[in-house]
């Protein structure tokens, strides 16, 4: 029974030391996961680009060996579209004037805005992309000298906020949150008791303005190999799969997962791992859940392609909307296996041995025919989520783990599958 087998708690701390799947079943050629797979691994799980400002950061693991989702979400949701510390002073004024490098209230180097007419405002143009509807947190410090009519501010772009009342004669930090209503500018209105009907000569000082997008996407530019150095990477922004969607962690069954869009997303493992030559043996373990088949009826979750004409696929796992799964090996295609649902999360195992192949679906296995085509010429890269050209049979899927051995792991298959299933609860 699950939970009482070989894989029980093997990913957890045992006897005070962390034991991962690769500690129990070592010598993988590549091991990608959103959990830590071996105790001695000191690298990160993934490298993530946030869509708000295109900065990248490595994301590692917690002490318990799980993906550090707190760091991930903190990073993705802290992309600043404006920060006076790095982007400089605000430059836009309307019915107002600006003086930089002013001193007031114990601070130096701040900006002073003075109204020249009623409905005075200031800010920064072209901060946001056209059509933007993301959530933002706007933070700034405001100082209004005593004796002014003006006693507040509010944003009118990117969204209209409620009036922010400022205590005159002291620096007041304000935080405004809201959703951009398709504006490109950042604009602050001066207010007198909530009204923008003010007189000329009203003064507002502003310091430390930051505009942070809190609904960014986190895109995976690298899924690091925890065994050797066969990192799966994607340097083209539009082809990067997501791990954070609009500020929210992508999950499957309560654990983080990587989502491929079914259009062109893929991670590229290069050609280092031999999943193609006729004489070689290999073992692959991968979880995947197809989200839907509306974009493609054939979806490749893992593929080692070639430039040969038919047969052209050395190795691959392809799911189809009629619930079957095709395992390719050296030109042979096994299409007879049927899943109970085309969109259920499934643990796929494939072991190519000297005389046959062993195919596993959620812990149950069957043997089949070994292919006969040697693909040592015309080889293309091995890719996760789509063919290497970024267009053939792209998968709209989630996945959290892929482990490849350049060896026959038949003896360890049950242990590896149980270890994966114990952590992800893929099948009962």
């Amino acid at each position: 029974m699950l939970g009482f087998g070989l894989g029980l708690n093997k990913w957890r701390r045992v006897g005070g030391g962390y034991v991962g799947l690769l500690d129990l079943f070592p010598n993988a050629s590549a091991a990608y996961s959103l959990r830590k797979l071996r105790a001695a691994y000191s690298g990160s799980a993934v490298r993530v680009r946030r869509s708000s400002d295109n900065t990248e950061q490595d994301i590692g693991f917690t002490a318990q060996g799980e993906l550090d989702t707190a760091s991930l979400l903190s990073f993705v949701n802290s992309g600043k579209l404006w920060d006076t510390a790095t982007d400089g002073n605000l430059t836009y004024v309307n019915r107002s004037s600006v003086e930089n490098n002013q001193s007031i209230g114990g601070r130096t180097g701040v900006q002073k805005f003075t109204s020249t007419d009623t409905n005075a405002f200031f800010g920064q143009v072209n901060v946001f992309p056209a059509g933007d509807t993301n959530d933002y947190t706007i933070e700034l410090d405001v100082y209004i000298p005593t004796g002014q009519d003006v006693n507040g501010v509010r944003t009118t772009q990117p969204f209209t906020s409620s009036p922010q009342t400022i205590t005159q004669g002291e620096w007041t930090p304000i935080t405004i949150t809201g959703v951009n209503s398709s504006n490109v500018n950042f604009i602050l209105n001066m207010l007198d008791d909530g009204s923008n009907s003010i007189s000329a000569g009203q003064v507002v000082y502003v310091d430390t303005v930051t505009i942070t997008q809190t609904t960014a996407d986190g895109l995976v530019s690298a899924w690091y190999d925890q065994s050797l150095s066969n990192d799966a990477t994607q340097g083209t922004a539009a082809n990067q799969p997501k791990i954070v969607d609009a500020g929210v962690l992508v999950e499957e069954n309560g654990k983080p997962a990587i989502e491929f869009d079914g259009v062109d997303d893929l991670l590229d493992m290069g050609q280092t791992i031999d999943l193609y030559s006729l004489a070689s043996e290999w073992s692959v373990f991968m979880d995947a859940k197809i989200i839907d088949y509306s974009l493609q009826s054939f979806q490749r979750i893992l593929i080692n392609d070639s430039s040969n004409s038919s047969p052209d696929i050395p190795f691959g796992i392809q799911l189809r909307s009629n619930n079957d799964v095709a395992f390719f090996n050296n030109g042979t295609v096994e299409l007879s296996l049927t899943l109970s649902s085309a969109t259920q999360r499934t643990l796929f195992s494939f072991i190519k041995r000297s005389g046959d192949v062993l195919i596993g679906i959620n812990g149950s296995s069957t043997t089949s025919t070994k292919g006969s085509v040697d693909f040592t010429a015309g080889l293309e890269n091995t890719t996760i989520g789509c063919s290497p050209n970024g267009s053939n049979r792209p998968a709209n899927m989630k996945s959290a783990e892929l482990i490849i051995y350049s060896s026959d792991q038949s003896a360890n298959r049950t242990g590896i599958e149980t270890n994966i299933n114990t952590f992800y609860s893929i099948y009962p």
Binding site: R49, T55, G131, S221, T236, A237, A238, S391
Partner: protein, 76 residues
């Protein structure tokens, strides 16, 4: 996902325009989109960015999705 369709040169110019505007700050991400060739026609496509339009006169045509004939047919 929307795409622009046009010549190879115009698609590559659009990719460069978007890449420059996005200003990738990471060590891995280097460009916006691959330029894809139609398997049977002298047409190329590039993924459209939501808020960055092509240069005027580029001749690029915006489509909501690529038609199935953009996919190469291979087995099975």
């Amino acid at each position: 996902m929307s795409h622009y369709i046009g010549t190879k040169t115009s698609c590559e110019a659009y990719d460069k325009r978007v890449s420059n505007q996005l200003g990738f700050k990471g060590s891995l991400t280097a460009r916006w989109s691959d330029v894809r060739r139609h398997p049977a026609k002298s047409l190329f496509s590039v993924i459209a960015h939501a808020s960055i339009t092509p240069d005027e006169g580029s001749g690029l045509k915006l489509v909501e999705t690529l038609t199935p004939d953009w996919n190469e047919t291979d087995q099975p």
